[in-house]
Amino acid sequence: MKSAKSCFNKALFFKNIKRLWPVWVLYNIAWLIGMPLVLLGQLSEPFPDFIHEYVLGNALYMGVIMNAIYGFVSALTLFSYLYTSRSVGAFHTLPIRREGLFLTCFLSGLCWLFASNIFIFALSAIIELAYDVLVIKYLLEWLAMVCLEGLFFYGFAVFCAFLTGNGFAHLVIYGILNFIVVIIELIVRFCSSLFCYGLSVSGSTNLDVFSPIYMLFRNTRTLVTSLGDASYNGWNTLFIYAAAGLVFAALALLLYRRRQSESASEFIAVPALRPFFLYFFAFIGSLVIGIIFYLAIFASSASNPPDNSAWALLICMIAGGFIGYFITAMLLNKSFRVFKKTGPGFIAYALVLSALVTAVEFDVFKVERYIPRLDSVESLRVSGFSEPMVFDDPEVISKLMLAHKAIIDNKSANEAYASNNRTAYYDSLHVSLQYNLKNGKIVSRRYDLYDQPGVDREVLKLLEEKLNTPAAVSDRMSPYLELNSNLVTTIEINYIDSKNGIEAPFQTEYLAGEKAREFLRDYLKADILEGNLGRVPVLFEEGSENAYYDCFIVINYSRKGEGTGLSDSSATIVPNLSSKKTMAYLKGLGIEPRVSDYQYKMGYYMDYMEYQYRMP
């Protein structure tokens, strides 16, 4: 007959509480400094602004770090009895079922966590009360946030404790699993274009959720809504993580019920998972160590890869995989003599990796050559030459697709030029194409194209031609065409006079009322409709019809009427050499701007700015 009353053991609970006090004292000291003492300091200032934002920000940023550490240290200390045969023997000899041992130890850590948080909460409340700034809502939110964070990290750390058989492995697995997805994402982004011409992984993916520290920092925020007021926008995320913490704890209990005591001191305690971790760490080695090797050996910079970059990277990845695989094999087998026993496994891994890289390099999966079907595309976003352009006219999109195909066909010449010219990166145009599909998916491609004869010049010319057909210009400039002239209040014309020197400043002229409306209606819109205003210069060619003037025409309008697609109360247009009607009007006003020699660089700059903005 088995005991039904052994899910919690009081003696063990109090023993845990008593023997692990240093961990909890350190946790409290850190929070004391981070919360009540800092509050005290801030409230002593004459104008303690943003105090509530600090409270919530503290719960988010300090809370995540503190709980990530506390979760691990508590789980390690409470469940470290699993890690030596002596202690596991002593605990498993006790007349307490595994469930009882688990729940008692788990609750010991959780009780201290909650008790510490409540203690800090109470102290902070007393301090705020003393300074008459107490708004209990924010402190309660702080308490809820740190408790939910703690629940997740502690539950996750306990789960890792039951996956592993020693403290070192526990630390490694907990640390890696907290960050691994985001690290893999970063590396895949880096490698993707090396393996696959044009492949671009941009933006955040749904996989970020598997890197909790990163996810909590990046995707949730404390917001200041007005002076002294604040709110937190990540409750859903926090509740999901807290629930995940409980699920991890439940999984840990399931693992415990099946765990063999003899797994103490093993690297991975669950025998069935050992092959998985062996190949998992081989893959991590291939990605992380492989990339380090590649950067150190083959590329003075990642931007100037050798001609056979995929093969060079493959060699590095096999070398990195070798290190990851055999170190893991040594840890799993607790022996240095693993080469004979596990060598065939590595050979199989290297062959699979090589096959995969070869398949990608030769585009077996048709990723490089993939262009979405025209009828599946909602819009196409092109960036790289000026501010990003979005097209939704199928006719325009189909023509740009032809340019895209030409870029793909020109791959060999592009890669050959890149590998033979060490300065190629600095001469390149970074062209991004983003297809927004009707099913909500996004297909992104990014190419470094070179304005060199025999390399990409013809491709770039074709792209320039397709971007500047009248249909393409009017499609892209449609918000200007839709702008009701009657809404226009003033138009500013900022320009550098063609008669002035290189260092000349911008001058400004204003048009108001009917004059401004007439300028928009009869000149600007007329040029746009004919495809002569709003052109995009891709190549820098002197005298090109697409070249810009050093002239920015800012149209200010009232928001009454709406429906223009323009997002602000002003819009800016830069005239091209082809904008004959516009320039004739300006000439009538005595405005003769000089032709810009910066359009090429400006495009590069805008692309660069956009890239910076997109970076996570």
């Binding site: 007959m1 088995k2 005991s3 052994s6 053991n9 009081k10 003696a11 063990l12 109090f14 023993k15 023997r19 002596r86 202690s87 596991v88 023997g89 002593a90 498993h92 000899t93 006790l94 007349p95 307490i96 079922r97 595994r98 009882g100 063999q260 005591s261 003899e262």
Partner: protein, 297 residues
């Protein structure tokens, strides 16, 4: 009291216990002996509920031990390496065990303090190995167990303390009918306390008998044969050696049977000497090619 039935335990590809079966009667002292790696500690870890068997049964009073708190609170176990919490003293451990084992006898614990004279408030990590063993005995006996399982129990104790410890255990056996299973390499000591012995080799039980049966079934013969006479090749000695004209034989069988067989050779002189447990251990294992025999002899 203790029943092990067809117990199998594998560690990876290695079979540590291979269909092992044996019984220990209530109130008996059972010695589990065997060479290094025979599986003694593995058996003990099954008996204490640490290991889960791959197959077979480990029963105490007819109930499975694994994950059975009712049974486990009647078992006290003293491992070869004593466990204690890093900061804990013997008194701290007593307080801990008192909350876990309902039959823990605090009075007995205090009484045993007169025998085990060391500072119970001193952290156990600061105690010598022998003192840690004493501490473990004091705690284990105070649990008032029905089953006491000991792995190399007196290793590290001085001769006086060994006697004290065995005296306490034997007293418990006689007064309370405690069942004791002890694993040790100190066969001379086991010989004094065990009434049954099981010899384990490669995860299998070579034999299990009472000590008297064991000693009655094998004997050492010293004899001198008449001049020119030699021992027949099929005489049946499991081991023989000679020193001058004196032959020493190890023979299986009862003393009477061996005496008759030897007398038939008309020796000038012969004598039967009972074997010690250590000698029995060596000769029994010699039968399964245990190479240490020649080293010990």
């Amino acid at each position: 009291m203790i029943e092990v039935k067809n117990l199998v335990k594998r560690f990876g590809g290695f079979t540590a216990l291979d269909n092992l079966s044996f019984n220990v009667e209530k109130g008996s002292v059972y010695g589990l002996v065997g060479p290094n790696g025979a599986g003694k500690s593995t058996v003990i870890r099954h008996l204490t509920g640490i290991y889960r068997q791959d197959s077979g049964e480990v029963l105490i009073d007819g109930q499975s031990v694994y994950e059975n708190p009712e049974i486990k609170q009647r078992i006290a176990y003293i491992p070869d390496e004593i466990f204690f919490f890093i900061q804990a003293s013997t008194r701290d451990m007593m307080n801990f065990y008192r909350g876990i084992y309902p039959r823990f006898d605090t009075k007995l614990y205090e009484k045993l303090g007169k025998i085990f004279e060391f500072d119970e408030k001193r952290p156990m990590r600061q105690l010598s190995k022998g003192m840690q063993k004493q501490s473990a005995f004091r705690l284990a006996v105070s649990m008032r167990p029905d089953v006491l399982i000991l792995d190399e129990p007196v290793d590290g104790l001085d001769p006086v303390m060994r006697r004290q410890v065995w005296s306490i255990i034997m007293n418990d056996v006689s007064e309370r009918g405690t069942t004791v299973l002890v694993s040790s390499h100190n066969l001379r000591e086991l010989e004094d306390v065990c009434d049954h012995v099981g010899i384990l080799h490669n995860g299998r039980l070579l034999l299990q008998r009472s000590l008297s049966e064991l000693q009655d079934n094998i004997a050492k013969v010293q004899l001198v044969l008449p001049e020119g006479k030699t021992l027949p090749e099929d005489f049946g000695a499991i081991h023989q050696s000679s020193s001058g004209r004196v032959l020493t034989l190890i023979m299986r069988g009862s003393n009477e049977h061996i005496s008759q067989k030897v007398a038939a050779l008309n020796p000038i002189f012969f004598d039967l000497v009972p074997l010690t447990l250590e000698e029995i251990f060596i000769y029994e294992l010699g039968g399964v090619d245990y190479e240490v025999r020649e080293i010990l002899l």
